[in-house]
Amino acid sequence: MSDRKTELLTNLSDAVVEMDADKAVDNARAAVAESVDAYEAIDQGLAHGMERAGRLFEEEEYFIPELLLCSDAMYGGLEILRPHVRIDENEKSGKVIIGVIEGDTHDIGKNLVKIMLETSGFDVVDLGRDVPPAHFVERAREVEADIIAVSTLMTTTMEGMAEVIAVLRRENLRGRFKVIVGGGPISAAFARKIGADGYSPNAASAARLAKTLLREPQEVG
């Protein structure tokens, strides 16, 4: 790899971690002008930076505002680079249906997870909040999602998550989708209890969890 290319990729990654949208845009433009492969610039530059930002968030170094500023920088660079990605390379990591379960309207956590998934290359379909369990399943079928991600902030609506899995089982679809859950009152123990495929304590690790799940061989459900 040429020194110049390495420099641009490093700058893109740093721009995201430093929450510097101008720097991200400038370096994305330079990458395009200097014919650096746009896919590489995203994958090894911007997304690399977002992954670092996610780790800082998990280590409590960064908090929600910083994570959002990092994603602003990421999206700034992405806008420049995306049109230059060759079609065959523009494959997504996977498709995720995400929403807040029925009865709950708190969606900031869900929105953070959505950003982290998108910046990791997932195609995300957002169902919003107060989403009935059956609607998750219906939409997941329609868009042929790989993963159903369900969020809640309230203990009173947690049972709706179990219902999503129950609907999948009733319709003999459990093996077709991975189900991941998260939110304030959710724990790994709860996720196991309801038979979810995964739980993540925060937005950054949710993206990693989603990637890990899709790498695993599909089980027969």
Binding site: E61, F63, P65, M154, T156, M158, P185, S187, A188, A189
Partner: protein, 501 residues
């Protein structure tokens, strides 16, 4: 196939079907097992040891699949709690709605209960008594209690628990004054909407789901003996009107005690707590909202957090050499930190530049040690940010909705036991309240009780409050399009946050 589960050291056994959790089995066997998170697998308080096993398990996450002998560790127990029994009162003409000599107000808090015996002929408080709300043993926070009570056995458990505790307070008042329980003609239940549901055996499930509509009709008068409350034979329970699922009778009492319906100018009434309720009054026009501040203010979900009992650090200042000067409840060695101490500590960190506006320790450290066994961690600071952000964004949106600037707020009235122990300076340092409120803050104390006393003593207050509550406009912050942006900006520790109006 049923299995027999024996709980030690109590030695009580119960037969349960396969798949029953150990926590459910313990409840059936009437074995006290703390479960503040109501079986969500979060709090770790229900740890028990199975016979022959090395490690402890969570009773809530362990299913019974064989005959078992289970050892329950001794409860740590809450030895003491600072309860605020007094508050600013209002004098009302003596026109009680019942004939008789005595009445009682019970402030049914999520954490504590306060009961006050009032002489209906003179209006004087004869005695006051307080205790924990023992429901917390089964489910700590309001939402966990709603979840538990969504099933009939759970509702029966919580209803019985609080009814017994109210009975014990009535006994205590009787003993202290010599006034027999039978001489009490009426009890006012002042508390949040969920607590009123649970104290009357009403299914609270609808409060746990958007749009959080109460099932209980208020105001209402109930026959006390039908609710297992032994007072005069024809004794009544009065339930004050509630504004919404999250703005309850305690706030109605507060609105009355603070005279929000009559007072001229702009008043902001705030009850800072797990569910931070606030009411903006502009020349008698009221708008209310509630904010999900979470448990950090009660010292919960914090590494060295504890309730405001003996050994809790309740006040902190940081000196020039970064040394901590501590106020500890009970004059004993510090064991942990309660909500007010935590806010003081983090406020002092911000003021001294130990913590940046972003909430991060500036010098890369991960913890700040206050005492030998008590430290504030980076994660604790994040918890404070979430709680503070919830209250501040609620306040900003409430004011923005009414088109009112900070400077135009004439008075800030802080109600509740937690608020009473807060220092305004810490609130400003954190940006929990804007510094523009300096000099305009009054701490009202337990207005749930004092407002409840006015409702007990004056029947026309009841009619007036029913009318006022009907007129209160309620804002559902989560549905505001700008809520997320305002909340996230409010996470910063900044004395001045950009205006959103």
């Amino acid at each position: 196939m049923p299995h027999s589960v024996t709980f030690l050291p109590a030695g009580r056994s119960v037969d349960v079907p396969s798949g029953t959790t150990l926590l459910e089995a313990a409840r059936l066997a009437r074995v006290a097992l703390a479960s503040p998170c109501n079986g969500a697998g979060m709090c770790g308080k229900c740890r028990v040891k199975l016979d022959g096993a090395e490690d402890a398990v969570f009773a809530c996450s362990t299913d019974v699949a064989a005959d078992l002998r289970v050892t329950v560790p001794p409860a740590l127990g809450e030895t003491s709690l600072k309860v605020l029994e007094h508050g600013i009162g209002i004098s009302v003409p003596l026109e009680p709605s019942v004939a008789g000599d005595y009445g009682v107000v019970v402030d049914i808090g999520t954490t504590t209960l306060v009961a006050s015996l009032v002489d209906l002929r003179s209006g004087a408080e004869r005695a006051s008594a307080a205790s924990f709300n023992p429901q917390a043993h089964h489910a700590q926070d309001v939402l966990s209690r709603i979840t538990l009570a969504a099933r009939p056995q759970g509702l029966a458990l919580l209803y019985g628990t609080v009814t017994n505790a109210i009975g014990a307070l009535l006994d205590e008042l009787a003993q202290a004054t010599g006034v027999a329980r039978e001489e009490v003609r009426e009890i006012v239940y002042s508390g949040n909407t969920a607590m009123l549901h649970l104290a009357t055996g009403t299914d609270p499930a609808s409060l746990g789901k958007h749009p959080y509509t109460p099932k209980l009709a208020t105001p209402a008068r109930l026959i006390a003996r039908e609710h297992r409350i032994r007072i005069a034979a024809d004794g009544l329970i009065y339930l004050p009107p509630v504004t919404s699922g999250f703005v309850g009778a305690d706030i109605t009492s507060g609105m009355l005690a603070a005279r929000l319906g009559e007072i001229k100018g702009v008043s902001l009434f705030i009850d800072i707590g797990t569910n931070g309720e606030m009411v903006l009054a502009v020349d008698g026009d009221l708008t209310a909202t509630s904010t999900a501040a979470g448990p950090a203010f009660e010292g919960m979900n914090v590494s060295c957090g504890m309730r405001a009992g003996d050994g809790a650090i309740e006040a902190v200042e940081i000196g020039d050499g970064d040394e901590a000067v501590l106020g500890v409840i009970g004059g004993v060695a510090p064991r942990g930190i309660c909500g007010s101490g935590l806010l003081d500590a983090v406020g002092a960190f911000v003021a001294r530049g130990i913590v940046a506006g972003s909430g991060r320790f500036r010098d890369g450290r991960r913890t700040f040690e206050l005492a030998a066994d008590v430290a504030v961690t980076q994660r604790d600071i994040r918890q404070v940010q979430l709680a503070k952000g919830a209250v501040r964004s609620g306040l900003d949106l409430l004011l923005a909705h009414a088109g009112i600037s900070y400077e135009a707020v004439d008075r800030v009235l802080i109600a509740g036991s937690f608020g009473f122990h807060l220092r305004p300076e810490s609130l400003f340092r954190l940006g929990l309240l804007p510094r523009a409120f300096d000099g305009r803050i009054t701490f009202l104390g337990n207005t749930s009780k004092t407002g409840g006393q006015a409702l007990l003593l004056n029947a026309s207050c009841r009619a007036r409050m029913a009318e006022l509550v009907r007129r209160v406009k309620v804002l559902d912050l989560a549905t505001f399009p700008q809520f997320q942006r305002v909340f996230i900006e409010s996470l910063q520790f900044a004395e001045r946050i950009p205006a959103y109006v």
